[in-house]
């Protein structure tokens, strides 16, 4: 019994390997096709992942800056802070001293740090930065609140570019919804493409399958090789896609940092986490297996 089982498994693996090898050009093309599809989905994942990072950064930037008069007393400053925190519009308040503002400026323009520190009067007044709560920009109370702040004694000016933030918000929302739609279409396209290629491949083998059935080949030896083949192709394609995606990612990153001289670290630019990579490989693998099993399903009774 055990000997017989082993031999059935051997026959199955043997058939699968032979099948892939006999149609080796087709095998390569199928693997590439799956890789291309998985790759495109991966590109989307990667883009979405990093766009999300940027969007989060943007969200954090919805801050109000209160410029303080140089002469403002500590009490006046504290009152502004208290007012802000009581407003139900502000998440966090932060005091930025003249020195700190200068240091910030120096940090981003390092080469010019000296020039800045050698200026007679510091161009940076002390400020209070307020992080707004997520929905504050849409609140009807905001304009009044801003006026109120500006009218405080210690406040010199209140800076809040509503228009700009509103636009950015719109853009982010648009990108998010559009990105979701694109991702949906991409995944759909990939599934459709892989299924289609597998279907066509098996249509090519239709006569062979009919003959195998006619000579009484057991179903596991007819379907099995297609399933194993689909699995192997899907796995290879998925892995290939993730590998190429990683290389493409590193390439683009290197190109951008070389030509634009930006400290990419400022953004959360990162590759897909291992779990997402695994998901992509599994996706390719599943596509191969499901395509294979669907295509072999029918025509059981006839011929």
């Amino acid at each position: 019994m055990s000997g017989r089982r082993t031999s059935a498994l051997t026959a199955l693996l043997d058939e699968a390997a032979q099948g892939l090898w006999r149609a080796r050009r087709m095998t390569v093309v199928s693997v590439l096709q799956i890789a291309v599809s998985v790759f495109l989905v991966g590109v989307f994942f990667l883009t979405a992942e990093n766009l999300r990072g940027i969007v989060e950064t943007v969200k954090d930037e919805t801050a109000v800056t209160v410029f303080l008069k140089a002469a403002a007393s500590e009490e006046e400053k504290a009152e502004i802070e208290r007012l802000a925190m009581e407003s139900r519009l502000v998440a966090r308040s932060r005091r930025v001293s003249t020195q700190e503002a200068g240091a910030r400026f120096a940090a981003t323009w390092q080469s010019l740090a000296r020039a800045s520190s050698s200026l007679a009067s510091s161009p940076f007044p002390e400020t209070i930065e307020l992080d707004l709560l997520p929905d504050a920009t849409r609140s009807e109370a905001l304009p009044g609140f801003l006026s109120l702040l500006a009218a405080r004694k210690g406040a010199d000016d209140v800076q809040f570019d509503v228009d700009w933030i509103r636009r950015l918000r719109g853009a982010v929302a648009l990108i998010a919804v559009w990105g979701g739609a694109v991702g949906f279409f991409l995944a759909l396209g990939a599934v459709f493409t892989i299924a289609n290629v597998v279907r066509l491949t098996i249509l090519l083998h239709r006569d062979e399958i009919d003959i195998l059935r006619l000579v009484g080949a057991p179903e596991y030896l007819i379907r099995g090789p297609f399933l194993i083949g689909g699995l192997a192709q899907g796995f290879l394609g998925g892995t290939l896609a993730v590998g190429v995606l990683y290389l493409a990612f590193r390439g683009v990153l290197r190109y951008v940092s070389a030509t634009h001289n930006v400290l990419i670290g400022a953004f959360i630019v990162r590759f897909l986490p291992p779990s997402a990579c695994a998901l992509l490989v599994v996706g390719g693998l599943l596509a191969g297996v499901i395509g294979g099993s669907i295509a072999v399903r029918k025509k059981h009774l006839q011929a």
């Binding site: 000997g3 017989r4 031999s7 059935a8 026959a11 043997d14 058939e15 006999r22 149609a23 006569d207 062979e208 009919d210 003959i211 195998l212 059935r213 006619l214 000579v215 009484g216 080949a217 057991p218 179903e219 030896l221 059981h300 009774l301 006839q302 011929a303």
Partner: protein, 241 residues
């Protein structure tokens, strides 16, 4: 071994077999003949469930073939050796693979498969083309590969549809000797052919199909061909429902 009771077969309303009944016992050797389009191939297809009967009952080896669940079809076919009229060789596999494939899923180890494939191909004089692909073979050679595939497993039942149509007289006679030998060893043989010479020379039982009806005749060796039956044969009657 084979029992047919009142079997009918219609294709899109066209009746191809009408009220066919006959029995064969284990170890029998029976010819099936009849003019082109009489229904020979259709009758054989019913036996291995490549078609289902429109009516009537078919028993093969005690199994009700017409009504069996699809999952049991492979099992049924594995007890048979079948020579198809159009050979049905796998174009992407060599002669050796085509012939030995059936042994693979019976769990026969590679060495043994090779040995038996060589032996069987030797019987049809093709042992020198083991690694050729079907499209590199002549018509007659392909037919002999199909034959070897059906014989390799020493099946209980051999169904051969026009197995000598592309063979010259000498090879045809060799093949008939093979069938006789395998029949002596216990295999039941049902052989469809147009070749009256083959039937005449054998003295076996012969079923004649004519327009879907079966007419039985036992032909003695060296007896004249059953002209009365044959001359009636024509192309299928037109448009009969």
């Amino acid at each position: 071994m084979i029992e047919l009771y009142h079997v009918q077969k219609d294709f899109r309303g066209k009746r191809v077999l009408r009220d066919v009944s006959f029995q064969m016992s284990r170890g029998d050797f029976v010819f099936l003949t009849g003019p082109s389009g009489a229904g020979k191939t259709t009758l054989l297809k019913l036996l291995f469930r490549a078609e289902q009967p429109s009516d009537g009952q078919i028993l093969v080896n005690g199994m009700n073939v017409g009504a069996m669940p699809p999952s049991r079809i492979p099992e049924l076919r594995r007890t048979m050796g079948i020579v198809f009229q159009d050979y049905k060789l796998l174009p992407t596999r060599t002669v050796f693979e085509n012939v030995s494939f059936v042994l693979k899923f019976l769990g026969v180890p590679t060495q043994e498969r090779k040995r038996r494939a060589y032996q069987t191909l030797r019987m049809v004089e093709l042992h020198h083309r083991l690694s050729a692909f079907p499209e590199e073979l002549s018509g007659g050679e392909q037919q002999r590969v199909a034959l070897a595939r059906a014989l390799i497993n020493e099946p209980e039942l051999l169904i051969a549809d026009e197995p000598t149509g592309n063979l010259d007289r000498r090879l045809a006679e060799e093949v008939m000797k093979l069938f006789t030998a395998i029949n002596v060893r216990g295999t039941t043989v049902l052989l469809a052919t147009h070749d009256q010479d083959l039937i005449r020379g054998s003295g076996r039982r012969c079923l004649t199909l004519d327009r879907g009806r079966v007419l039985e005749g036992l032909v003695e060796p060296s007896a004249p061909p059953p002209a009365a039956l044959l001359e009636r044969g024509g192309p299928l009657a037109e448009g009969e429902p």
